[in-house]
Amino acid sequence: MAILEAVNLKKSFGGVVAVDNLSFSVETGQIKSIIGPNGAGKTTVYNLITGLLPPTSGLIRFNGQTITGLKTHTIASLGLARTFQNVRLFENMTVLENVMVGCHQRMGSGLFSAICRLPKFRREEKQTAAVALEKLALVGLADQSQRPAFSLPFAQQRTLEIARALAAEPRMILLDEPAAGLNSHETVQLGKLILKIRQMGLTVLLVEHDMELVMDISEEILVINYGKKIAEGKPAEIQDNQEVIKAYLGEDFKGR
C-alpha cells in the first residue's frame, strides 16, 4: 500500500516550471530515493509535500488522505516529518530542547498549565525530556544533550535534525541531502541510522547526491530532471538506464 502518492504534481515560479507533471508513490515501510542533478526540483518536491509551498496543480495523498492545501503544521501532525538541506536547527536552544520541540504536538499542555506549573505539566515535561533523550540516544547524541545546538560539529547537527524529526513520532520521514558535508565514515554511520529508522517501521524518502549511499540503502529510486520524471525503479535498473546515465550520472559511473 502506498503511504504517499503524488499525482500530476506541478509547480511553476513565474515562468519557470520547477516541478512538471510529476507522479510517483512511496510504499509503506520503503526506503525510496529521489535523485537528479542540481536544480532538478527535488527540494521543491519536498516543500510541496510538506505544505511549505502550494502546488500550481496536482495533488498529494498521505495515508489515503489528500494533504494538498493543508497547513504545514497540520501535515506534520498527520505523521510526516522532514529535515533540511541547509540544516535548520533552533540555534538558540540546547540540543535536548531542540528535540523537545519535535515532541511538541503530542504534548498537550497549553499556556495556562505552563504558567501555573500544574503537576500534570511537570509530569509531561519530565516524560518529554525522557523521550527526547531516547531519540538522542538513538542517533548517538545523548551525551551532548545540554550543549547549545549551534556548538555541535556539522555532522552532528545533521543527526540532531534527524533526532528532532523522529521526536515527532512520524510515520514517514523526508531526508533532504542528509549526507551533504559528511565524510565517508560519517556517511556510513548515516546509512546505518537510516536503516535503523526503517526497522522502526518508518517509511523513508531520501533526496541525496551521494550515489553510493543511495544505491546501498534504497529499495526504489526516482530520477527527475527539470522537474520531470525520467526513470523509476530498483537501484540496479537505474544504474543500467541509458536515459539516466545520459542525463545525470555521467559516462564514468558504469565503470564503478
Binding site: H73, A76, N92, A114, F121, R122
Partner: protein
C-alpha cells in the same frame, strides 16, 4: 539524565534573593522618597519590557508600537474609574482583557508580516492609537488628558503613599516575571523560541507558529495593559504624550539593552533606562544628547545587551570548558 531534569526549576535562589532585595530596598532609602518613586516606574516598565521581550527576544517578532497597549490599558482603566465610578479592581481585568483583545485583532493581519514590514505595521498601529488618544477630549473632558483617576485600595487599606504603591507594583512585577519564566521553560516557550530559531522548521514539526505568535503578542499586550493600569492609578492623571512613539522606542531599547531572550535582562534594561534619564536630569538640556549617544554606544559595543555581554565576559574568564551551563535566564 537526572541532571537535565533538575535544570527545569532552576533559579529559585535567584528569585528569592531578588525579592529580598526588593523588600529591603525601602529600608535603605527611608529618607528619600524620590528613590521609591523612581522604583515604582522601574517596576511598571519591567512589566511591559518582560512581555515585549517574550515577543521580541523569544519569539523574534519586533513591535515598535507597544506604548499603544500601555496607553489603551491606562485609558481604559482611567476612564472606567474616573468617569464611570467603576472600582479599580473591576477596571483591571477590563483593561487587561481589552488590550489583549485589541492585540489579538491587530495581530491577525500584522503578524503575517516579517522584519521591516512588521516593524512598520506595529509602528503605524502605535501612531494611530496615539493620535486617537490625543483626540479623546470629548471623552476625558480635558484637552490635556484624563484627570481625577482614583487611587487603589485593598479593602479599607488605601495605597496612598509611594511606598505602599511600590509594594503593589513590585508584587505584580515579580508575579509577571515568574509567570514569564514558567512560560519560557515550557512547551509553549520552546515553541516560541523555535519560531525565532527557524519558523519553517518549527512548522514542519507540527508547531502552529501563527497561533503562538498571536498568543504571545496578546500576552505581551496584556502585560502592557496591566502596566497601564498601574501607571494610571499611580499618577491620577494621564495624558497622551506618555504613550507615543518615543516610549515605544524606549521599550524596545530596554529589551535590547537588557538583553534579548533574557527575563532578568528585562529587569536590568528597564531599570537602567528608567534610572538613566533621572540621572541625566542633572545635565538638563544635555540629557537627550547623552541618551542618544549612550544608545548608540551600547548598541555598537554590546549588541547582545548588557546582561549577555557581562555574562559572556565572566564566562570566558572563569570557565575553560565550552560546554557551559546554558542558562536561559
Amino acid at each position: 539524565m537526572a541532571k537535565n531534569l533538575r535544570k527545569l526549576p532552576s533559579g529559585r535562589w535567584g528569585i528569592a534573593i531578588f525579592i529580598l532585595c526588593l523588600a529591603l530596598f525601602p529600608l535603605l532609602t527611608v529618607n528619600n522618597p524620590y528613590y521609591i518613586n523612581v522604583m515604582v516606574f522601574v517596576g511598571i516598565n519591567t512589566i511591559i519590557v518582560v512581555g515585549l521581550n517574550l515577543l521580541m527576544g523569544y519569539a523574534g517578532q519586533i513591535s515598535l508600537g507597544h506604548a499603544a497597549f500601555y496607553g489603551i490599558g491606562a485609558y481604559c482603566s482611567g476612564l472606567l474609574t474616573a468617569k464611570y465610578g467603576c472600582s479599580p479592581w473591576l477596571a483591571l481585568p477590563a483593561a487587561v482583557a481589552l488590550t489583549a483583545s485589541v492585540a489579538y485583532l491587530i495581530g491577525l493581519p500584522t503578524l503575517r508580516l516579517k522584519g521591516h514590514y512588521l516593524a512598520m505595521a506595529t509602528l503605524g498601529f502605535g501612531m494611530v492609537v496615539y493620535i486617537v488618544l490625543r483626540q479623546l477630549s470629548w471623552l476625558t473632558g480635558d484637552s490635556s488628558g484624563l484627570m481625577g483617576i482614583p487611587g487603589i485600595s485593598i479593602g479599607r487599606f488605601k495605597l496612598d503613599t509611594d511606598l505602599k504603591y511600590y509594594f503593589l507594583v513590585w508584587t505584580m512585577a515579580v508575579g509577571v516575571l515568574m509567570l514569564s519564566r514558567n512560560i519560557v521553560n515550557s512547551r509553549i516557550g520552546r515553541a516560541l523560541r523555535a519560531v525565532e530559531g527557524s519558523e519553517t522548521a518549527a512548522r514542519t514539526l507540527g508547531v502552529d507558529t501563527a497561533r503562538y505568535k498571536l498568543q504571545v503578542f496578546a500576552l505581551s499586550a496584556a502585560y502592557a495593559g496591566l502596566a497601564g493600569f498601574l501607571y494610571a492609578h499611580f499618577m491620577g492623571f494621564i495624558g497622551p504624550s506618555t504613550f507615543g512613539f518615543k516610549f515605544s522606542i524606549e521599550l524596545v531599547t530596554m529589551v535590547v539593552v537588557g538583553g534579548m531572550a533574557s527575563i532578568w535582562g528585562s529587569v536590568l534594561g528597564a531599570a537602567f533606562l528608567t534610572i538613566l534619564p533621572e540621572c541625566l536630569r542633572v545635565a538638563e538640556d544635555y540629557d537627550i544628547v547623552i541618551y542618544g549617544l549612550l544608545l548608540m554606544v551600547v548598541m555598537i559595543f554590546m549588541p547582545k545587551g548588557l546582561t549577555r555581554t557581562t555574562v559572556d565576559l565572566l564566562k570566558s574568564r572563569w570557565t575553560a570548558s565550552p560546554v557551559s551551563q546554558t542558562n536561559e535566564e
